[in-house]
Symmetry: none
Subunit: 217 residues, 4 copies
DNA sequence: GATGAATGAGGATTCATTCAT
DNA sequence: CATGAATGAATCCTCATTCAT
């Protein structure tokens, strides 16, 4: 077997175990047992237990980072809302595909080690900043109401994290609806209220979302 | 020294250490060193390392639970929004007072042990349910828009958790403003849009919040 | 409460616990719990855990020693067989009365500590010697057949120990019959054969024992 | 070094130490020091301290059990007395070869742990039963006098145990004579008296044994 | 490269004994 | 005398990592 292939195989097994038991309760013994390799072989591919965990973590963080793209306001881009929707969709797609990695990022990598803690914190910090910058832009453009964009960005990030945690735990697959629900909640939370209702008949409830989401066009 | 006093003293020290280093990296040696007691003395007050952690965790969960009260609709109660505000205020007050416990609940108690994991999950689950029930009630009363209240409840819970995490990390104290910010974001996210803007001049932004928050009166 | 009385009370409780769990598995905590005294009080009456055990052991060894009397051949003494019978009877009486002490002497005091091991070994050694001397005397008097009296003495001692162990474990009380049985077995094992059968009709079996036991008169 | 070889080596050292100091006073440190292995290596071969002790105990009990064979009455078998002699010989051979194991079975395994206590008790119980069954058979065949075979079996077992204990402590090697002595004592203790003396001249003492022992032919 | 036996530092827990009140 | 909180040495066991084959 090719070196990279074997390494990937070990990573695959480790991922499942770390996700299930967390870093501390996972032994090297667990990993080599599942990966069907010898103790020494493990150390041929990874410097130590910590490294294999970091590789997995980095992989997840990098992938997630790529899935969350900056909102662009160019004329040839989709509407900001559509860009948000696409971001959210990609994140949830990752979650559904990589439940184990999600679990690791979300739960098992905190309170672990100064350095790794810091790395995760920084990752979330970056996302929060991306969100905050988008909000600031929205305010400038008259789409987002005046608010403490830092706190609101946290709220949004936290909301997504919590829903993501739920999803990774449950076997639900109706991600599109959930994306819509989060988007709806978040946008209403930040939108300037004038953009939400216009000449709307009392009973009609479902249609409004669509209007909001496309109001920026 | 009185028994309870001594026990509390040990707990106090353990709390700081667990918060800083997490359960696994904290030794009994660390705790007894800080608490200035002998090895055996520790085991006089706690069956084992796990127990002292559980005591701290339970203490936090119980305290937090008490701070989050069910929204009541009786005539002699404050408005629902005021009740929400009070809940949030009490939670943030706890966070500021008990940064270490907050840290433990938020970060260090997950991926630890099936049983403790389950206990924390259940705690959050209960809060999510409280939120969801409030939302359901709001929908019935025509205050909250039609939505997937489960997902939205998750979003709200997650938002609060994230902000709380931020707060426990930083030395900020403007909690009242933050409470207001979260409330504002959350309420707008769920309120029926008609309740948000009524005959409002375009420029006026700040006044609208107040109206919303007291709309239920 | 009087000092000696209290000491005796603690000893009584310790005896039961040592018998049931042995020295090593018995904690000072067990003893003070049962005796309803404080930790420090224990050390007021006994230097340490070992001492209380030794007191019990010595008590048992001394009592037993007194119950096993040297066989005397004076004209005004009962027959040697009756003296043996009386010895055995007294030993079994002790066993039935002091099951716990018996248990301690028999089982829980070996492999414990060089010194205590030696003391017990010496005790048994002394009894074996008493038996051996009696046998030697019997040989001289023409009652006992030629044999390796040391080995035979061991056999006899061991036989009694084993039966005693059985008795202390079970709730049987027919000690007299057992005394007779042991005596019968042992005497036949050592008696000169001529003394066992004399002009005896083939079928008669039960009577012979009596003749043997009183043959020395 | 081969796995089994290494394991055996550790067992060999542990055997000596357990025999000398007993279970409780023996540390794992003692064992690994003697066996010249690292702490962890010990736990590679044995789950814990208790297990290595049990392995040794079981080994002894199994070996001993195999050395004590049921007395068979078939025409092509040696005489019952010869079978007894062979059994005794094999037991004493074991004792001389495996003094340490003998010591463990005899002394260091009692009052240790409910389960192990029970196992040893059961072992002796089984031997006692074997003896008792042989006695019952002897009674049926008219070789053994009427008696409480249970008690007598205990006497015989105890006698052997005591002699065995003596042997394992001392450096004697004249086992054949001792076997003969025990046999002689035991057989006389149980034999029907008519079988012991027949037309025997007064002075002749040594010959009688032979006759008895071969009477069953 | 692959193996897995060996290592030993590290950490949790117990319990006999002391001593201030 | 009596108490029981405090002590800390002793001991078992785990597990990440190394290294000779």
């Amino acid at each position: 077997m090719d070196r990279e292939e074997r390494r990937a195989q070990v990573l695959r097994h480790a991922k499942r175990i770390f996700a299930r038991k967390g870093y501390h309760r996972t032994n090297v013994a667990d990993i080599i047992l599942r990966a069907r390799i010898a103790r020494g072989t493990f150390y041929l591919y990874f410097r130590n237990k910590r490294e294999i965990f970091e590789v997995l973590l980095d992989q997840a963080l990098r992938d997630l980072s790529e899935r969350i793209r900056r909102i662009r306001m160019a004329a040839d881009e989709p509407s900001p809302v559509d860009q948000l929707r696409a971001n959210l969709g990609r994140v949830l797609e990752f979650v559904m595909m990589e439940r184990e990695l999600t679990d690791i990022v979300l739960n098992h990598a905190v309170g672990f080690d100064r350095e790794i803690d810091a790395r995760i914190l920084e990752f979330y910090e970056q996302i929060a900043q991306k969100i905050q910058r988008s909000l600031d832009l929205g305010v400038q453009m008259g789409l987002v109401r005046q608010c403490d964009t830092h706190t609101v960005a946290c709220c949004i990030l936290g909301g997504v994290k919590e829903v993501v945690g739920q999803l990774s735990r449950r076997r639900r697959h109706d991600t599109d609806a959930i994306v819509e629900e989060i988007l709806n909640f978040g946008l209403r939370g930040v939108a300037r209220p004038e953009l939400l209702v216009e000449h709307q008949p009392a009973g009609e409830v479902t249609g409004e979302g669509e209007r909001l989401f496309h109001a920026a066009h």
